[in-house]
């Protein structure tokens, strides 16, 4: 076989593998959704997932947002100075945080913290036969492990995004007032006046989508992990990679859906 044909074959193989993976993930999502509406429901596992996904992510989300808001303010101020537009800093920080940086950075932080942890935990359970044990104890692993986590992602990540938006703007406010000499009342007034309901709605919808992607990919990779420590490591790595890429792709699609003219 000639080199071009081999390259073409390799490309075809990669495309087919990717499509097969997409198909498996979609089937996994469909199975998760089907279990979401059928009893039994595991309330205790759901509450635990809310705590793990939501509450324990607060510090990392808050710190990410406050530093990003502060840095964004400095950048907009310095960039705006080039054409004498420093006054628009509050508006740009608000729209930048709420529409883009808040949801995307929170999504990526959740992918790093929660997706990896879910994948590693479930993959370890698989390797140590705990998933098989669940089945023999008449408990469906999808219901017990996947549904509570995905539901928790759907509910808590939009809340984290909303909080991240507020903390990010607060970071910007602090830098603007303390370092750049902005009037606090004017900063707040400009921020509130400039933001529209659609900005906030898009932010929360993105959060919900990213929450589902992050938790679903963690569960999928864990459930489909290979054997041994290497299998657990590979599942963890691939879950974070896949979740991060899917979050960025979903962000592009959702931004287009909300704001394309």
């Amino acid at each position: 076989m000639t080199l071009p044909l081999r390259l073409l074959g390799g490309l075809g193989h990669a495309v087919l593998s990717f499509l097969a993976l997409v198909g498996r993930v979609v089937l996994f999502l469909a199975e998760t959704l089907s279990h979401l509406v059928r009893p039994p429901f595991y309330g205790r596992e759901f509450l635990n997932a809310l705590f793990q996904v939501g509450w324990l992510s607060l510090p990392v989300v808050g710190l990410t947002a406050i530093f990003t808001g502060g840095a964004l303010t400095l950048q907009i101020y310095a960039g705006g100075a080039r054409f004498d537009a420093q006054a628009v800093v509050p508006q740009i920080v608000a729209i930048g945080m709420v529409r883009e940086l808040g949801p995307v950075l929170v999504g990526l932080m959740i992918a790093a913290r929660v997706t990896s942890s879910i994948a590693a935990e479930i993959a370890t359970m698989k390797v140590t036969e705990q998933i098989d044990a669940l089945v023999t104890l008449s408990t469906h692993p999808m219901k017990y492990l996947t549904v509570p986590r995905v539901l928790a992602g759907l509910i808590t990540v939009p809340l984290l995004v909303g909080l991240g938006d507020i903390i990010g703007i607060l970071g910007g406010f602090t830098v603007a007032v303390k370092s750049l000499g902005f009037n606090p009342a004017v900063f707040v007034q400009n921020t509130v006046n400039f933001l529209e309901p659609l900005d906030i709605i898009s932010s929360l919808v993105k959060g919900a989508a990213f929450g589902v992607i992050a938790t679903l990919m963690g569960c999928y990779s864990g459930m489909n992990s290979g054997r041994g420590a290497q299998g657990v490591g590979a599942a963890t790595k691939s879950s974070v990679e896949a979740a991060s890429i899917l979050i960025l792709a979903a962000n592009f699609l959702l931004t287009g859906a909300f704001f394309s003219v």
Partner: protein
Amino acid sequence: MIRLEKVEKTFGSNAVLRGVDLEIAKGSSMVIIGGSGTGKSVLLKCVLGLVQQDAGRILVDGQDTAKTDRDAFLARFGMLFQGAALFDSLPVWQNVAFRLLRGSLKRPKAEAREIAIEKLRRVGLKPDVADRLPAELSGGMQKRVGLARAIAADPEIIFFDEPTTGLDPIMSGVINDLIREIVTEMGATAMTITHDMTSVRAIADNVAMLHGGKIRWTGPVSQLDTSGDPYVAQFISGSAEGPIEAVR
């Protein structure tokens, strides 16, 4: 009674089970022996439905396992896994009472805890173990907790996958004795997979040897030493010389 008819299972190009026929009488203890990688665990997982066989039938009390209600079917089983497979996030008593805290066998929490502590006592563990996490226990204690979980819902059929693997000879003896006692007093049907010959002699009523994807020999444990089968003879003597290749 458990009956396997011409059960086959292939992974890729590796035909692990090539037509297994086996019968386990109700209330008896069957031990399946065979070298590593001969498909003993796959066979057990096929019976439980954790692995789907490619061909053949598995009948429990005359009912095809592929056609029975899965929850009702699994409610009749208990299983001790090779590594105990305890849920690390749950304390010991919740591991033991897992089935009693949810699903069709759900009981009030206090009652489930009481049953768990009684089962722990049955396997020789003190009640103060109940609130510890599995990671805080030794390998032998984890096996006992796994055994307590397997018997918590008083199952009719209990499976033991390599129950003494990784344990010292004294702890192995304790686990073997426990299994024998429990199976006898509960009147349960037991199926054990092992290559530990001490376990075989302590636990088994009947023995079956799996080799080459088929049951090579089966009979009462009393006839194991006089089976006349060269494969069985080599296996129980642990000799490198014989029809079973030492390097697989």
